[in-house]
Symmetry: C2
Subunit: 188 residues, 2 copies
DNA sequence: CCGAATTATTTTAAGTTTAAAATATCTCCA
DNA sequence: TGGAGATATTTTAAACTTAAAATAATTCGG
């Protein structure tokens, strides 16, 4: 998480200095820092609430949230892609959740490389309780926004997401066969 | 970082089910997930670019970004608050940056508990190069947004931030003297 | 069918991160 | 002025996270 704050940046910029590759990027930079502080603020609060109320970490909650939507289980690779974290990360997370009895893994039928991961009954029950509280917290955190604000944000964030995807795909900094070949693994 | 994706949630909700504390929070939840994926996407790209182009990690870059704006140095506590991370985290990060010769620490005049941290000349030079590239990357990532979009997002995110702060302050889950007493450490 | 390339996962090493306890210092008021 | 409480930082243990290398299994063209 990039932890900068979005205050105190100069407002005025000399239009003359807009030169290719070294120009006036203040607006975008300020936007990025504000997005970051906003997300951080909410995430910290949710993390803290999950810990104090349910003694669970945010990554574990997130993983369980993915599994809840896949009653028949998902592979570790699916989890890694959906959660946007490394495969090795998922391995460890699942391992700990299995030890806690919240998650189970079984070999994937038809592919001996893969394992299917799913919630146990205990894990599902536990998650449902937490998810309800989580939804309430998020609603509280956004209580200062009206329906119009939310709609507008949804639209603008979709646009920002699309923009970022294009930029990231368009100028891949490490060209691999995978990067060039597959365009279908991302989530939207 | 909460790693959920913002797809596949039901669009339609029964208005009758809006009950206190267990109601219709889909819009807010969807907004939160979208904010998260959007931020994640951009952050991953920046992290990756920092690593491949400059062999630096995001937390180190963030810490140096804070220091650059404080030519006279900041305390570890300042860094912790501005970066929104724990104090212990900052201790380790500074330690490693000092070892790399990018940052220096000296005792704070007038308070023997504190240390002032600042960029070395080498650190400053290094950061300036990276910061210029970073600004370009962010501009590229947001290239699909026009000035109006950016303005609108800035306003809506400010509103969201304010809302979240009120909610987090208003219903503190762990009441400490500090929580109740000071309202001035956050960044705005 | 063979083998090269791809895919799924684990392992490894290093770094990041947190919460909580421990230290050390400072403030301030009774 | 003495000491209680607050503040600044470090330490600790555990968890999270990544990138890269290593394993293992699959796919697919020839």
């Amino acid at each position: 998480m990039e932890k900068l704050v979005d205050e105190d940046l100069p407002e005025t910029v000399d239009a003359e200095t807009r030169v290719q590759g070294s120009g006036d990027h203040h607006a975008e930079l300020r936007l990025w820092l504000r997005m970051l502080t906003c997300t951080n603020l909410i995430e910290c609060e949710i993390r803290s609430l999950l810990r104090t109320r349910f003694d669970v970490t945010l990554p574990r909650f997130d993983l369980m949230a993915q599994l809840e939507r896949a009653p028949d289980g998902m592979t570790l690779g699916d989890l890694s892609r959906r959660m946007m974290v490394s495969a090795g990360n998922v391995t460890g997370l699942v391992e700990r959740l299995v030890q806690d009895g919240l998650v189970e893994r079984r070999p994937a039928p038809g592919d001996r490389r893969s394992a299917l991961v799913s919630l146990t009954d205990s894990g599902r029950a536990s998650f449902e309780t937490m998810a309800a509280a989580h939804a309430d917290w998020v609603a509280d955190l956004f209580a200062g926004l009206d329906a119009g604000d939310i709609d507008a944000l949804m639209g603008l964030l979709a646009k920002a997401k699309a923009s970022a995807r294009v930029a990231a795909e368009g100028a891949p900094h490490v060209s691999t066969q995978a990067t060039l070949a597959k365009k279908d693994t991302a989530d939207g």
